[in-house]
């Protein structure tokens, strides 16, 4: 529940009603920034997964997964003001849902036993974080 | 012989009252005075019924109102601790003798704390008698009713309002050997500038320099009125002398 609240607060800053294209772009940029930060953090944890305890990893991933999930669904619920904005939305929600999905997969692996291929997961997350950052740069907030 | 001089706000009101053995009893929420030619302090008043009127406003009325609601008496009065029991006035006010504890403390102990395991068990030594109260203390008998009252001089020109009350320990005997604190003067501030916070006094109330300057500046033009200069102690208080004849407060902190 708490994580939902964290996420809501996170989203409250990014996804309150948007009126024009410029605002919409800014909000999209801020959302991407926040998601990139979460993804980079998960990557950092996954890289040194061997050093960390399982309850800790599980708590950390649950936190991030819930936050990303809510960012994703909340941003998707904001009506884009124009066709251009709709394209922006399609782009950003694709990125954030991919992030949410990756973290969820990792979380499931941790819950079952341990992360199967930490190196590949870290590389994927790094790639995703880069793409989110690139998006954030295109839409500066 | 002149007795010890105190200022009611500065030295007495709002101080902690402790028993001789160090246990805490209450605060000096107000003082009860015996009116007359030479009025003097007879008791410390404590509890919400004494504090409420001083806090004032909605909160103050709420405080007294709730207390009245839960008290069985027709005309509930604040707790009185007679001044004859006071053995020392310092950073706390020490009282001797057998002073009953507050009703709320008793109630909370009996209903909530004693039933909990490990509270220290029932102790017959503490089964003190219930507080003794007399009828309601009327407003005019409370020292706080003087504070904030308007003061006008012989010709009806305004002097200001009462900021503090000076007490001198040379009144009638209380108990066996304690002399009562007699009301001996008023500190009158030209407008509502709050308490003097001790910076009106002599060498003691001197630092830090910046605070002293600010507070004394807020109270510039304050006057000291001795009890003999008061004609009619009603509301407003009328003096027997013109404003110009009053001592400026600076006399108190910069004696010449």
């Amino acid at each position: 529940m708490r994580r939902v609240l964290v996420a809501l607060l996170l989203v409250a800053g990014c996804a309150s009603p948007a009126w024009n294209d410029a605002d919409y772009g800014k909000k999209a940029g801020a959302t991407a920034e926040a998601a990139a930060s979460s993804v980079a953090l998960v990557r950092l944890a996954v890289e040194s997964e061997a050093k960390l305890t399982r309850p800790y990893l599980q708590t950390l991933l649950t936190e991030t997964a819930t936050a990303l999930d809510s960012v994703d669904s909340q941003f998707g619920a904001v009506q884009p003001p124009s066709r251009r904005a709709a394209e922006v939305r399609a782009e950003i929600t694709e990125l954030t849902s991919e992030a949410a999905e990756q973290v969820q997969v990792l979380l499931n692996e941790v819950r079952l036993r341990e992360i199967r291929d930490p190196e590949r997961a870290a590389a994927d997350l790094g790639d995703l974080a880069d793409r989110l950052r690139a998006f954030a740069e295109e839409h500066p907030s | 012989m002149t007795g010890r001089v105190l200022h009611a706000h500065l030295h007495l009101l709002d101080r902690q009252v402790v028993r001789a053995d160090g246990r805490l009893l209450c605060k000096v929420d107000d003082l009860e005075i015996e009116p007359g030619e030479a009025p003097y302090v007879t008791a410390i008043l404590a509890g919400p019924l004494a504090l409420g009127p001083r806090v004032g406003g909605v909160v103050g009325r709420l405080m007294t109102g709730t207390t009245r609601l839960f008290r069985p008496e027709e005309d509930p009065a604040p707790r009185r601790v007679p001044m004859s029991l006071v053995s020392e006035i310092g950073s706390a006010v020490t009282v001797g003798g057998d002073v009953p504890e507050a009703a709320l403390e008793r109630w909370v102990r009996e209903r909530l704390i004693d039933p909990l395991p490990g509270s220290g068990g029932a102790d017959p030594g503490l089964g003190a008698p219930r507080p003794v109260r007399r009828a309601e203390v009327p407003d005019r008998d409370r020292l706080s009713s003087l504070v904030g009252r308007r003061v006008v001089d012989r010709d009806g020109a305004p002097v200001g309002q009462v900021a503090d009350v000076q007490l001198t320990q040379d009144g009638p005997l209380l108990g066996e050997s304690t002399q009562a604190l007699r009301l001996s003067g008023l500190v009158v501030a030209p407008r509502h500038t709050g308490q003097l916070l001790g910076y009106e006094r002599g060498p003691g109330g001197n630092s830090p320099a910046l605070v002293r300057v600010v507070i004394r500046r807020l109270h510039r033009g304050s006057r000291f009125v001795s009890w003999e200069q008061i004609g009619d102690p009603g509301d407003p208080i009328t003096l027997t002398e013109p404003r110009a004849a009053l001592l400026p407060l600076t006399e108190l902190f910069e004696p010449r």
Binding site: M1, R2, L5, V6, L9, G13, S37, A40, L41, L44, S48, K51, L52, T53, P55, Y56, T59, L60, E63, R133 | H9, H11, L13, D14, R15, Q16, R23, L24, L25, C26, K27, D29, L51, R54, V55, G90, S91, A92, A102, L104, E105, R106, V108, I113, D114, L116, G118, S119, G120, G121, D123, L126, Q195, G204, N206, S207, P208, A209, L210, V211
Partner: protein, 407 residues
């Protein structure tokens, strides 16, 4: 050894003030966003709290009067009640947050949702306040909180770029606006100088029955405890500036902020840091709960303290019990404990002058202090801090509104 134990009151007080749940996260957040560029605020805060805690401790030792007695006596019933309402409200919010924080630490250790731990933490905290002697309490939780020193060791083990961190001391690496920077400056100063620290410290001095002879012990408490607390909070920011800032990660949860210790020392580091976080937040739980009891009892003149049996301080213990229950209920509404402290920090910054002005005045009053009144040094510095606190009090709420609490 005895001398060492004598300073545990200062350590427990400082840990509750500098590295409680809100500060743990705020320090890490600041480190990850602003690098070391806000470290100076912690230094200013440490000097300020040392100054006023020393005055409050000296008044308590010489006259036996704790801080809220002074507040009521100098400010009078009306302004005193205003301060009581503000401090009590802040205390209760902070208490709720600390209980939540201790429960979060247990979640990090076990993986079991924190909400299930909340009632247990509340119950144990109450039992400690109900039964455990003050000295035992302060020793156990003060010393356990020292486990957070792992952040300091981790900082060196992480192989930081000292040149870069040194550069950040004077150059803000963030591209956020000045308002956000100053918002965090105010929040950190408010965190360092929270009023409940002096309530707890001076009341603790009375609980330990300090007298004039103990002024040396009191000073040792102040000058060991608070700088240590400040050092830990700088270490947390430095770890975050080393690990998170270069990777552009902004931390805002407890789980994230302990990661540097895990990266440096693996599972042992992680276990130590989670233990330290639990001890610090649990210690802060006791500190805030007791402070709420102290402040209300001292305003109304009730018997308070753990130096008498609970039944002799019935209203005080009733306050502790009710505050703990209310705080547990508050945190069970799933309100975010960290957000709660972030707001309460800003409000407490706004209430600071109301607490510190009476302390400064009474530390100068020969009626209370005899020949132990403030010297010129304390007064000059004290006046400078009063001006600073007034500025902070005025700026706190507008800054919070302008920056949407630092977003």
């Amino acid at each position: 050894m005895k001398r060492f134990f004598a300073v545990t009151l200062g350590i427990l007080t400082a840990i509750g003030g500098f590295v409680d749940i809100g500060d743990l996260v705020a320090n890490a957040l600041v480190g990850s966003r602003f690098g070391m560029s806000l470290a100076w605020v912690v230094v200013v805060g440490v000097v300020g709290i040392c100054l006023f805690a020393e005055m409050a401790g000296r008044v308590a030792a010489v006259s036996g009067r704790p801080v809220f007695d002074l507040v009521r006596e100098r400010l009078g019933p009306r302004a005193g009640l205003l301060n009581l309402a503000a401090s009590f409200g802040i205390n209760l919010l902070t208490l709720a947050a600390e209980i939540g924080g201790a429960a979060l630490a247990l979640e990090l250790a076990t993986g079991i949702d924190y909400l299930l731990w909340v009632p247990a933490v509340g119950l144990v905290a109450w039992l400690v306040m109900w039964r455990v002697r003050f000295e035992t309490m302060e020793r156990v939780f003060g010393l356990a909180g020292l486990a957070l020193v792992v952040f300091l060791v981790a900082f060196f083990a992480l192989g930081p770029d000292y040149g870069e961190l040194g550069h950040q001391l004077t150059h803000n690496p963030s591209d956020d606006g000045a308002a956000t920077y100053w918002f965090y400056a105010v929040a950190l100063l408010g965190a360092a100088m929270t009023p409940y620290e002096v309530f707890f410290f001076s009341s603790g001095g009375v609980e330990e029955r300090w007298t004039r002879r103990d002024l040396g012990v009191m000073r040792a408490n102040v000058f060991v405890g608070f700088p240590l607390g400040g050092l830990l909070s700088i270490a947390i920011a430095a770890c975050a500036a080393t690990v998170f800032l270069p990777r552009m990660i902004e931390v805002d949860t407890l789980g994230q902020m302990v990661l540097p210790a895990g990266l440096a020392f693996g599972q042992i580091g992680l276990a130590l840091v989670v233990f330290g976080v639990f001890a610090a937040t649990f210690g802060a739980t006791l500190e805030t709960a007791l402070s709420s009891g102290y402040s209300i009892s001292q305003y109304f003149g009730w018997q308070w303290g753990k130096y008498v049996r609970p039944r002799e301080a019935a209203r005080f213990h009733a306050t502790l019990l009710v505050s703990t229950i209310v705080a547990v209920a508050l945190i069970l509404t799933t309100i975010d404990p960290i957000k709660v402290t972030e707001y309460s920090l800003v409000f407490s910054a706004a209430a600071l002058p109301l607490t510190y002005l009476p302390v400064l005045m009474i530390a100068n009053d020969p009626d209370y202090m005899g020949d132990r009144v403030n010297g010129r040094f304390s007064n000059t510095l004290g006046t400078a801090y009063m001006i600073l606190l007034l500025v902070v009090a005025v700026a706190a709420v507008p800054l919070m509104l302008a920056t949407k609490a630092g977003q």
